[in-house]
């Protein structure tokens, strides 16, 4: 099917298709869990999921990163341990990255 995004009707079709796809990814896992009994094993799985996902998101960023990103990670952990505040820690990480890029140029 050929769709021309420079026409209004073409763009509406494109955005509609993307909307349906995006919404389905958001609800399908939620929907499927209705059919899963929460046994202790499933509970362990769901509890481990956030950290497994966080490790999966962070590892490639660390692998592609340089000194600025490492400084950012270090600053984030340090401020989190110091203040126990996740937003503040994230801002500290961002600031460290910005400073490294500005003054060290990495």
């Amino acid at each position: 099917m050929n769709v021309d995004p420079s026409t209004t009707s073409g763009l509406v079709i494109i955005i509609f298709a993307m909307t349906v796809a995006a919404y389905l990814t958001r609800v399908s896992g939620f929907f499927l869990m209705r059919f899963v009994a929460v046994t202790p094993r499933v509970e362990t799985w769901l509890k481990a999921l956030p950290l497994a996902i966080m490790g999966s998101i962070l590892a490639p960023i660390a692998a592609h990163g340089g000194p600025a990103e490492y400084a950012g990670f270090a600053a984030t952990i340090a401020v989190f341990l110091w203040r126990r505040n996740d937003i503040l820690a994230a801002f500290a990480g961002m600031a460290a990255v910005a400073l490294m890029r500005a003054f060290v140029g990495v």
């Binding site: 995004p5 993307m18 799985w45 490790g55 999966s56 590892a59 990670f73 996740d86 820690a89 460290a96």
Partner: protein, 231 residues
């Protein structure tokens, strides 16, 4: 305890979301600039941000603009980039269990990385106010559209968002949440297996499949390992 909605929770989530807004607006502006670059109108870009509400998926879709099989390409872009949300939805389901389906499915429309993680944090803390999740998602939606409109409208005036470290905000937020989740040595296993599998997928597959693959590998290893090996 069954989940509920409170006005207090909504404002708590909303104002926490406001703290993340600079990064969201900058990201939206990047999308807006690129959307303008492929010839999308401000209205078209804003409509896509409103309905699709998925930054990396929208950016990837712009890459295929002009391709002959555009419709297939944009759908594949969205599924590849949002595949992690299938896991997010599974993980958040027990927290929302008992909510009227209409409210649950409407709330999930607003699910992005940060408010999902905030929801997981609330569940971890024994709090069941789903309005925190929705309030934060609402703040993001506002920032995302504001950024898109600003980027598509005044794109060329914006400097490089990398200079301000704005691209690092979400990774940093995830790292601090991971620190908060960390309870002991047993948590190393899902985190490390997830990280290792993600690196392999990131290297050889691309898209955001590494999040799905790493998330599944790390959490399933944890679930199927004998309990004594985890102590």
């Amino acid at each position: 305890m069954s989940p509920y909605f409170s006005r207090d929770g909504f404002s708590r989530g909303f104002f926490e979301g406001i703290g993340l807004l600079p990064g969201m607006i900058a990201f939206g502006a990047v999308f807006g600039v690129l959307a303008d670059g492929v010839g999308l109108s401000v209205t078209g870009a804003a409509a896509m941000s409103l309905f699709v509400f998925a930054g990396t998926a929208q950016l990837l879709a712009l890459h295929s603009w002009g391709a002959p099989d555009l419709l297939v390409a944009v759908v594949v872009s969205v599924i590849a980039m949002n595949a992690r949300y299938v896991l997010f939805g599974a993980a958040i389901q027990p927290w929302m269990r008992g909510l009227p389906p209409l409210i649950a499915y409407a709330s999930l429309f607003l699910m992005v990385d940060a408010n999902w993680a905030a929801g997981m944090r609330e569940r971890d803390a024994g709090r069941h106010d789903i309005a925190v999740f929705v309030g934060m998602g609402t703040a993001f939606m506002i920032g995302w559209i504001a950024g898109t409109v600003a980027g598509a409208g005044f794109g060329p005036l914006l400097g490089d968002p990398r200079r301000l470290g704005l691209d690092f905000f979400l990774p940093a937020f995830f790292l601090s949440l991971a620190c908060g989740f960390w309870k002991g040595r047993g948590d190393l296993l899902p985190f490390a297996i997830g990280a290792a599998v993600a690196l392999v997928f990131d290297r050889f597959v691309g898209g955001s499949w590494h999040v799905l693959a790493g998330g599944l590998a790390g959490s399933l290893t944890s679930a199927f390992l004998p309990a004594k090996a985890k102590a």
